[in-house]
Amino acid sequence: MTAALVETALKIAFVFGLNLSVFAPILGWVERKQSAVMQDRIGANRADILGFTIIGLFHTMSDTIKLVFKEDFIPRGADRIMHTAAPALALIPALVAFTVIPFGGKYMLWGHQVNLVVADLDVGVLFVFAISSLAAYGVVLAGWSSNNNWSFLGGLRAAAQMFSYEVAMGLTIMGLVMYYQSLSLVTIVAKQDSLLHWGIVWHWPAFILYFTCAIAENKRTPFDAPEAESELVAGYFTEYSGMKFIMFWMAEFVEVVTIAALCVVMFFGGHHLPFITDAGLIDAFGGTGSAIANLLAMAIHIVTFILKVIVLIFFQMTIRWTLPRFRYDHVMALGWKMVLPASLIWIFIVAVALLTGAMPRL
């Protein structure tokens, strides 16, 4: 019992720690630096502690310090409670969605089985979609409670866009669920033990569709119509200052990680290495019985998982800095008229392929 509690606490600490204190701030830095590289610039590099700058990593720290001590502003006429709650409502779902994502396999450590997922739900896929759709409330409330026309417009755009893509996003995954015959992300990962069973092999169209929906859901360029600077000043968070403002950004960054992690889990084999199974890796270090072998394998798997996530994050950032922004009605048209029918067609194709045996059952 105690061991299980400790294990869960450790896993929660790991997941949230990874997200909030590593990924979110570092992503801010990565985004800055990657844009600098793509744009032939140097990028932030002056902030120093005792003369060390570590290629500008401390800028994230100075941003945080400044934002914490920035005046917290609530405009007149705003709904104070909603205005304050909105950033949290936007950030929390993004974090919670991470709880069902397995970042490793199952390991025997000193007679205790460790399953590297915070909550192994049977309906993990549904849980992720259910929770991430809650993020829309934070955004809509932010737009509505600010008593500002630009915020209002941004909130409306965000609401329409997020709900539309929610629908399409759920459907893009259905083919994959049929293929793995499970809604549990842990099972889905477990079934991807060989390279041929990775989701991307058979389901690359679903990947493209899902990735599009996910970026749209996250409101990043090219789908950033709700916060389009040149149109709506800053969209739904126009009236936010200091930490509340940065919480919307952190929500966005955490969501980037979540999207990448989900893609890894569903399409890129999760923590699995390409040519060696979990059991094979543990055996290579000395067999199932050895706690050291299990620990080593665990470490390698977590690193593999994180590396895969980083590659997909990088991919998202590249898109972010390359494409211009969609017009709002084009975003909606793309969602309803292209992605949704395409994912329905894909479900149909998968169903036929599974029935006829053209696609092997797992």
Binding site: H59, D63, K66, F69, E71, N149, F237, T238, E239, F245
Partner: protein, 184 residues
């Protein structure tokens, strides 16, 4: 700025002077700009933000067009009398702490334009922290001005004690007006 009650009470206690340094360090490398661009200098501002001079190196690359999120009001270009109320309004809408950067001769003193239409320096309207003359100033000068401002910000005392909406200029009501026809 004067001494606030907190400052008088706390004086030079070690914790607060150290905290001042830390906050000063944070603020120094994290300017979110509000580019109030009106005229010719805006073209040089583009260059400063561009790849060759790269304002981002100093941590000041992120323009926020919502005054609530900005720390540094960059007044870039001539301010006409017609524009002046808007400048003051944007200044008042910014959240504390905030600084003002006078970019170019027109904002410093009116520059070449001394006639019925132009404001003779924005310091007649709002407090200014750094003056960068030039018509338009070269990017190097702008960077120099920014570094001077960084030093000024880092050395400020009483970093903790910015009151809410400390110093509205003109009509105090400007600050909280939002939405509707008056929002920018």
């Amino acid at each position: 700025m004067g001494m606030t009650p907190e400052e008088k009470a706390l004086g030079d206690s070690v914790i607060f002077t150290q905290l001042d340094k830390v906050i000063g360090w944070g603020r120094k490398y994290s300017f979110f700009l509000y580019p109030f661009i009106t005229a010719c200098c805006g073209m040089e501002f583009m260059s400063v933000a561009g790849p060759r001079y790269d304002l981002d190196r100093f941590g000041a690359a992120l323009p926020r067009f919502s005054p609530r999120q900005a720390d540094l009001l960059m007044v870039v270009g001539t301010i006409s009398h017609r524009q002046a109320p808007i400048l003051v309004k944007v200044y008042n809408q910014m959240t504390e702490p905030k600084w003002v950067f006078a970019f170019g001769a027109c904002t410093v003193s009116g520059g070449m334009y001394d006639n019925y239409a132009t404001v003779q320096g924005i310091d007649t309207l709002i407090p200014v922290d750094v003056y960068v003359p030039g018509c338009p100033p070269r990017p190097e000068m702008v960077l120099d001005g920014l570094i001077l401002l960084q030093e000024k910000v880092a050395a400020q005392k009483g970093q903790m004690s910015y009151a809410k909406g400390m110093a509205p200029v003109g009509e105090a009501d400007d600050r909280i007006i939002t939405g509707g026809e008056d929002s920018i």
